[in-house]
Symmetry: C2
DNA sequence: ATCCAATAGTAGGACATCCAAGTATTTTTG
DNA sequence: CAAAAATACTTGGATGTCCTACTATTGGAT
């Protein structure tokens, strides 16, 4: 039987420690990857009845939070930390679904502004309810633990520029 | 100017708190997504000269940790928490690159066993050195913070079955 | 004023991921 | 023992992501 007789994640940490001495970084990085997989999988499953993925949900959510109701695609990509081509793809799909409108910015005709349609707003609200009911799959953690983990992750995000872009 | 005048991530948390009361879960989930994006982006950049992605690196690493040196594809998918079709795709690419061998299991001809080639082992070691030098992009966190975050994330993974599969 | 650089978005291609469906093999069951 | 169920993997299709151009528009520099 070629089955594994150990936990490879823990074991990997040990091997790293023996050979390199960077067990904690490796363990942590691997954990982030796995938790992201778990969460994203849950989110997409919950959102599937609403015909959106978590990526597209994030676009809708971002639009709903903007004061003017409209955002240029570049801002969306900046906020969600995704490539400009990904934003084009996401907004295209959302537009085809009738969840967002696309219009050229009169002040800068290079720009394309996306905004929620009434239908998109309804989908967003329903999707948000679904995610809230799921509690984002985080019942295993207390609110205090969630906040604690959030603060730790925030340090990494800060160290990687995912933060101070509020000026633009 | 359609620019944002607030931090949408923090602001999102506030709105959630006002309307729903689940700010911590939403904030945490969003943070996990962003940190994963940041880390994965760094990893792939560092691994690019070695002609592998982080996904393929994880396959190589897993194989190197197995006692027999061989793992059926199903075990790989189970450990890395990816779909069987993803494993097929990854191992196919690694095989084309000459980094892994594929062979049918004599005991159970449904199974396909993957194992590292000498070349694959070299690539794995070089890639590991590169990731170690990067310190997994986690210089912003102390070792204690990394361990602390790891323990919190572990709770989520445990609650989602990414753990007790050691029996198989 | 006019060329040139920077910016915004899009098109095409590669990779990874999932799902649904299909094949092959093994195990279970009646 | 034969049919049904379970398991292991692959194929084809859809999404999302990134990268490398490429177009259009704007802003700066001489």
């Amino acid at each position: 039987m070629p089955g594994l007789d150990f936990d490879p994640i823990e074991r990997a940490g040990e091997l790293w420690a023996e050979h390199i001495g960077e067990a904690s970084a490796m363990r942590f990085a691997t954990s982030v990857m796995r938790v992201q997989q778990v969460l994203l999988s849950q989110f997409d499953a919950v959102l599937k009845p609403h015909d959106i993925t978590f990526s597209r949900y994030e676009v809708l959510r971002l639009l709903s939070f903007s004061t003017s109701g409209k955002l240029p695609l570049s801002k969306i990509g900046e906020r969600l930390m995704v490539h400009p081509t990904s934003v084009t793809s996401l907004v295209d799909r959302l537009a085809k679904q009738g969840f967002v409108n696309r219009e050229h910015d009169a002040d800068d005709r290079r720009r394309v502004l996306a905004s929620l349609t009434p239908t998109g707003k309804k989908v967003l609200d329903a999707a948000t309810d679904a995610l809230t009911e799921l509690n984002f799959g985080l019942d295993a953690l207390t609110v205090e633990q969630q906040d604690e983990a959030y603060e730790l992750l925030k340090i990494i995000r800060k160290a990687n520029e995912d933060w101070g872009t509020t000026e633009a």
